[in-house]
C-alpha cells in the first residue's frame, strides 16, 4: 500500500523516469539523432520557441504564447458553443417526447460521422482561418456533451420531479431547479470527454485549415524536418489539454461538492 506521499512521488517519478530513459536511448545512437531528438534538445528548442533567446526555433522563435493562445481560444470558443447547445438540446431531448422525435434521429445520424470528415466542407464554408477550427471543435465536443446530458436527464429520479410538482413547480421551474442540477453529474462527464475531443480537433484543423496555432507549428516543423519542434508542439498540446481537463474537473468538484464519493473502505475520497 502506498501512502499519499508515496503516491504523490509516483506521479512525478514515473514521468521523470520515462524522460531519462528516452534521453539515454536517444543519446545511445541507435537512431539518427534528428529522427528522435533527446528531451534535452526538445526542451532547448521549446525554450526558444517560448522565449526567443537565440532563434534556434527559426521563424517560430518566441511565438509560443501566440500559438498556444490561438489554439486555446479555438478550443474555448468551440467548446463553449458545444457546451451551451449540447446541454440545451440534451435537456430538451431527454425531457420532451416531441423534441426527442423531432431532433434525435437527425442528430444520431450525424453523430457517427467523424468530425475530421467535415474538414473539406468547413474550409469551403468558412475559409482558412479560425472558423473551420472552431466548427470542428464544436462538432467534436457537442456529441459527447449531448449524449451525456440526455442520459442524465432521463435518469433523473422521477420522485424528485414529482416532489417539485407537488410544491407548485411549473414545467420550466422543474427543468431549471430539479432536472438540470440532478443531471449535472452526467453533464460533467460529457464535458470532460468533450474537452479532450476539443484539443484533438483543434490540432487536426490547424494542420490543414489554419495558418497558426500549435497544430500548424507541428505540421510546419515536420515539413522542415524539425522533429525537436514537432515533439515540443506535441508536449505543449498534451500539457494544455491536461490543464484544461483539470480546469473542467475543478469546476466539477466545486459544483458537485454535495456528492460524497466513498471508497470501498468507506473513506471519503
Amino acid at each position: 500500500m502506498f501512502r499519499s506521499n508515496g503516491r504523490r512521488a509516483l506521479r512525478i517519478l514515473v514521468p521523470l523516469g520515462l524522460l531519462a530513459a528516452w534521453e539515454a536511448f536517444s543519446r545511445a545512437g541507435f537512431l539518427p539523432r534528428n529522427l528522435l531528438p533527446p528531451p534535452s534538445a526538445v526542451l532547448y528548442a521549446w525554450a526558444d520557441w517560448i522565449f526567443g533567446f537565440n532563434h534556434s526555433a527559426g521563424s517560430d522563435s518566441g511565438t509560443w504564447l501566440m500559438d498556444a493562445s490561438a489554439s486555446g481560444m479555438r478550443v474555448f470558443t468551440g467548446f463553449t458553443l458545444a457546451a451551451v447547445t449540447g446541454i440545451m438540446a440534451g435537456i430538451a431531448i431527454g425531457w420532451s417526447r416531441v423534441a426527442e422525435a423531432s431532433m434525435e434521429p437527425t442528430l444520431q445520424m450525424l453523430r457517427p460521422i467523424p468530425p475530421v470528415s467535415w474538414i473539406p466542407l468547413a474550409v469551403i464554408w468558412f475559409g482558412i482561418a479560425n472558423k473551420p477550427a472552431i466548427f470542428l471543435v464544436f462538432l467534436g465536443a457537442f456529441f459527447p456533451i449531448l449524449m451525456n446530458t440526455i442520459h442524465g436527464v432521463r435518469t433523473v429520479d422521477a420522485n424528485l420531479v414529482r416532489a417539485g410538482a407537488m410544491m407548485g413547480g411549473r414545467e420550466h421551474q422543474l427543468l431549471r431547479f430539479i432536472v438540470f442540477p440532478a443531471a449535472l453529474p452526467s453533464i460533467f462527464a460529457g464535458l470532460r470527454i468533450g474537452i479532450g475531443s476539443a484539443w484533438m480537433l483543434t490540432v487536426t484543423a490547424e494542420m490543414i485549415a489554419v495558418k497558426n496555432g500549435l497544430g500548424y507549428v507541428l505540421w510546419d516543423s515536420y515539413n522542415f524536418f524539425r522533429y525537436d519542434l514537432v515533439l515540443a508542439a506535441m508536449a505543449s498540446i498534451g500539457l494544455l489539454g491536461y490543464a484544461s481537463d483539470l480546469a473542467v474537473k475543478a469546476l466539477m468538484t466545486a459544483t458537485l461538492h454535495w456528492q460524497q464519493s466513498t471508497t470501498v473502505q468507506g473513506r471519503q475520497g
Partner: protein, 263 residues
Amino acid sequence: MAAIEISGVRKVFRNATSGDELVSLEGIDLAVASNDFLCLLGPSGCGKSTLLNMIAGFETPSAGTVAVDGQAVSSPGADRGMVFQQPTLMPWLPVWENVAFHLRLKGASRRARREAAATYIDMVGLTGFADHYPAQLSGGMSQRVGIARALLMNPRVILMDEPFGALDEQTKMEMQTELVRIWEHHRGTIVFVTHGIDEALTLGTHIAVMSARPGRIKALLPVDLPRPRDVTSPRFNDYKRHLLSLLRGEEAGSLPASLAVPA
C-alpha cells in the same frame, strides 16, 4: 365541508402490451373532515397508494371524483403537501434549501427562505442541521426534512405515503410520536398510507381499512383512544383484534360493543 371528498372513484390500469385491464380501485366513497388524521390501512396491492396519488393529482380516476376543499383535483399542486416513502430530497441542496424549496419556486429572497426554513427545521427537531446536505443525514432525519418541507407550504392537507416504512423500529416509534406532536400543535388534515396496524392505531383519528383486488374500503373506523396512545393497553388490543379480523377478510360483523363510539 369535508377537507377531502372522494365519491364513486374507480381506477382501471390497462396493460399496454397485453391489453388486460386491472381494476385497482372500485366504488371508493370517502370523506375526510378538516383536522382529521386518516390512516389508509391495507395489504400491498390494495390500491391505497393509488388512492393517495389521486388526491395528490399524480393519477386521475377512471370514474368518480376527488375533491380537496370542494375543488376537483386535476394536477399536483402546493395546496396539498406530500411526504414520500423515500425522502426525495434534492441532494445538491442543504437542508434549509430543501425545506424552503416551495418558496424558491415562488421567487422568495434568500433571507425569507432561510428564516421560514429555520422555523420548520426547529419544529421537526432538526435544529442545528440547516446547513447539512441530505447525504449527511440518517433515514429518520431525512424524513423529518420531508415533513418540514410539506409543513412549510401550510397546505390544506398533508399526504403521507408510508413515510416511515424504511425506518428501523425505534426510529419509527420516535417519528410517530413526533408526527402526532406536530399534528396536535399545527393542526391540519393528514392522510397517511400504511400497512402497519400498530402504526395506524398509534396515529389516526380514523382508519380506513382496505381490501385488495379490487381495492375497496371495507370499513371506516373512528379510533377513540386517549393520546399518547399506549400500544399495550387492552383497548388498543381490542382495536387491533378487530382490524386484524377485517384485514383477514373474516366477517367481522359489527364493531364490538367495547369499541362503540359514545354518541
